[in-house]
């Protein structure tokens, strides 16, 4: 992997996993490995991004992703500013292109952006010289979420290639599903989706995944069951008749997991609706890797920030030790 200027070989920005190769994705995961340890230290800070200014630009509410990015940035010693849409110029009617120009005028290094419209991160990236990291754009992609999921799967199984992963739930509205589909396929996994037909988008098979009809079939088939959050507004949209019905037909219960293979693990991107898409005894049970996902999130985001700042994957170990 060659590194030129601020481009770690996959471009100026991280917009999605669709445009990356399997090798590039694995390189990010490799880079994340040494960063895991920083979060276990007593003093959780290294000077890797000292002097770098990063704006966390959140047009949509987010707790987990925003905090995870902020920890990653702070543990790498970056200077960060958080902007959320409430109370900002955005709410006063500023267009995204004007927001972009203003950020550019302030000479910042990186922007982490979360936005409700698909394509918004790319829109921003095309218009400013700073590195742009997509923290979720509409229903398009959420690449750092998928990277932390991939890292969690790799931690458990040693490799992603050859594993069977089934994503369950609202595929239609999920950027997490899309980023995972691309990432898993590129890393050599077999991918399936499962959920009510109303929430499976048209042409999903053309992306290279198969559809499984029932949750029982999915559980028997897979090594990794990736359970998506069911947004409560899907019920009002008429996609599912009720949450109770959803739980009855697609909910992941420990009873249903009786049919699973011994090694099978359960992932969830959070926040969970306990008793809807996942029962508490599964979420808190031995197959759940939901909290390791969260821990890995910080390491993966540190790796992405490091790489986009011009760091080289093979030097991550030194960088973390404090080398400039």
């Amino acid at each position: 992997m060659t590194t030129q200027g601020r481009e770690p070989g996959f471009g100026k920005d991280l917009i999605g996993l669709e445009s990356l190769t399997g090798g590039q994705i694995e390189a990010i995961l490799d880079t994340a490995e040494p960063f895991k340890e920083i979060s276990e230290r007593k003093i959780k800070k290294v000077p890797v991004l000292r002097g770098q200014t990063i704006v966390n630009l959140f047009f949509e509410p987010s707790t987990r992703t925003r905090i995870s990015f902020e920890f990653a940035e702070k543990r790498l010693s970056a200077d960060t500013v958080n902007i959320s849409s409430a109370g900002s110029a955005v709410q006063k009617g500023e267009t995204l292109v004007d927001t972009a120009r203003n950020l550019e005028a302030m000479r910042i290094h990186m922007v982490v952006v979360r936005h409700g419209s698909s394509g918004a991160a790319k829109f921003l990236a095309d218009r400013i010289p700073s590195n742009v990291i997509n923290a979720g754009d509409g229903q398009h992609e959420h690449p750092t979420q998928a990277l932390l999921d991939l890292l969690t799967i790799r931690d458990r199984f040693g490799a992603i290639a050859g594993r069977r992963v089934c994503i369950v739930g609202d595929i239609l509205h999920s950027r997490v599903a899309r980023s995972n589909i691309w990432g898993l396929l590129k890393c050599g996994a077999d991918v399936a989706v499962c959920g009510p037909r109303t929430l499976i988008p048209a042409g999903i098979e053309e992306l290279g995944v198969q559809r499984l009809g029932s949750i029982e079939e999915a559980i028997e088939w897979c090594d990794v069951l990736y359970v998506l959050r069911l947004q409560l507004e899907r019920m009002e949209g008429g996609y599912v008749p009720s949450l109770r019905e959803y739980n009855r037909v697609f909910g992941v219960s420990s009873e249903r997991l009786g049919r699973a293979g011994d090694e099978m693990i359960v992932l969830h991107p959070g926040p969970m609706n306990r008793g809807v898409e996942i029962d508490s005894d599964v979420a808190d049970g031995p197959r759940s890797v939901i909290l390791p996902q969260v821990t890995n999130g910080v390491a993966v985001r540190m790796a992405v920030l490091y790489l986009l700042a011009g760091g080289r994957p093979e030097l991550a170990e030194d960088a973390k030790a404090g080398a400039p």
Partner: protein, 432 residues
């Protein structure tokens, strides 16, 4: 000698007369007087050398948005009519979804008179025929005063921009319009099925995470309207047909004699949903660009004559309205100044449609279909004429458009066929 000229040595294509030969065309007092070889015009008549050019009836576009009144930052009647002339059009139909909408005779009269006023000042373009709203406020509830609107100059009715959703209203419109011999133009879309979609439903939308509009959103309304036209004997014209299902429905209905017609837009014949990749808002329009199979079906529909005419759905938008998130950008693209060249490139150059037939689909057919003057160079016809070089290659540069807006997916395209002169009523309104 105003309104008089002699076009010499051009290849005259007049589908209304079955003519495709080198001829001279003599125009006097705004009318075609003779189409012969070796015409000697009267002393002093302006001579125009048309050698190497096609001389054809002026193009007619029955689907144009001029934005005035109400959105003059996008387009005005003057700039839209001039853009049309630059594209070889001599008659355009202005859609009523303005602000206020063209739902009363004063508004309809304004559009017609505004175009004439600019023409009198020497800044005219194509003739502008207003199309009136089918329902008051385009709200889909109460029928407009169609008789008064026709008297004020309306040539058809539509709620374009919005579909006519209520089947009972559609039935009454198809009945009532028969007193005036005008068609009901329908933007065929079931908004509930479209459900806020912004592009074609399918794998591309799924990958981009954009909400999709299924083919059934168009097809179900076309099917319904066909049965209502059959019930009433009225004429429904389906605007911008985009799906293979709708083409097939129209084909079958026409075979059994239903008065249904359809139009094909250059962009639906030239592009597919793939053009949206990269969140290109200049490829966002409604109905959306569809799959490759749909594109082929629309092309074939036009070639077979199932879709009788080409119409651009010229929909200007200011650049900053398009320079934004895909979800929030408005639907629509400009089309007047690229239509002929895109159609020549897509249909004539590959050998799918003879140039003669393309001229027919863009002039004679819409005139015949809608029962309006134009589309002919036979002696006595109004001298609405386009001269174009069918071989000239050029690059689409939106900065050169007469239109106020630049929102085209064809920017930078190498195209073939260039309009050299557009004549309206014997008066040159555009020269390259």
């Amino acid at each position: 000698m105003s309104g008089s000229l002699l076009l010499t040595g051009g290849r005259v294509i007049d589908p209304s007369a079955g003519l495709d030969e080198v001829r001279d065309v003599l125009v006097r007092d705004g009318r075609v007087e003779a189409v012969e070889r070796g015409v000697a015009g009267p002393e002093g008549i302006p001579l125009i050398d048309a050698q190497g050019l096609v001389v054809a009836p002026g193009l007619i576009d029955v689907h144009v948005h001029l934005r005035e009144p109400g959105a003059e930052h996008k387009e005005t009647i003057r700039t839209g009519a001039q853009a049309a002339a630059a594209g070889g059009f001599t008659t355009i139909w202005a859609m009523p979804n303005t602000d206020p909408p063209l739902d009363d005779p004063a508004a309809v009269g304004f559009v017609r008179e505004e175009a004439r006023r600019w023409a009198r000042k020497g800044e005219g373009g194509a003739r502008v025929s207003p199309v009136a709203a089918a329902s008051l406020g385009l709200a889909g509830k109460q029928m407009t005063e169609i008789g008064g609107l026709v008297e004020a100059g309306a040539v058809a009715i539509t709620d374009d921009g919005h579909p006519i959703h209520d089947p009972a209203l559609m039935r009454r419109l198809l009945e009532y319009t028969q007193s005036f011999g005008i068609p009901v133009l329908q933007h065929a879309e079931d908004m509930a099925l479209s459900a806020g979609g912004v592009m074609n439903e399918g794998a591309v939308a799924t990958a981009l995470g954009l909400r999709g509009i299924p083919n059934a959103s168009e097809a179900t309304v076309v099917a319904r309207d066909i049965y209502l036209a059959e019930l009433t004997g009225g004429h429904v014209h389906v605007q911008h047909v985009s799906t293979r299902e709708a083409v097939e429905l129209i084909r079958l209905a026409r075979e059994r004699g239903v008065r249904v017609s359809g139009e094909a837009s250059p962009h639906h014949m030239a592009l597919t949903e793939e053009a949206v990749r990269g969140y290109r808002t200049e490829a966002k329009m409604n109905p959306p660009l569809r799959s490759a199979a749909d594109r082929l079906a629309v092309r074939q529909g036009l070639i077979d004559g199932v879709l009788e005419c080409v119409a651009t759905d010229h929909a200007p938008h200011h650049y900053e309205e398009k320079e934004r998130e895909f979800d929030d950008a408005p639907f629509g693209i400009v089309g007047l100044e690229t239509a002929l060249a895109v159609c020549i490139g897509e249909l004539v150059k590959p050998g799918d449609l003879p140039l003669f037939d393309l001229v027919e689909r863009m002039s004679t057919a819409p005139a015949r279909l809608m029962g309006i003057e134009g589309g002919s160079l036979r002696p006595g016809s109004r001298a609405d004429i386009v001269l174009f070089d069918p071989e000239e290659e050029w690059t689409v540069d939106p900065a050169s458009f007469r239109s106020k807006s630049r929102n085209t997916p064809f920017s930078g395209w190498e195209v073939t066929g260039r309009v050299k002169r557009t004549i309206v009523g014997g008066e040159t309104r555009y020269r390259d």
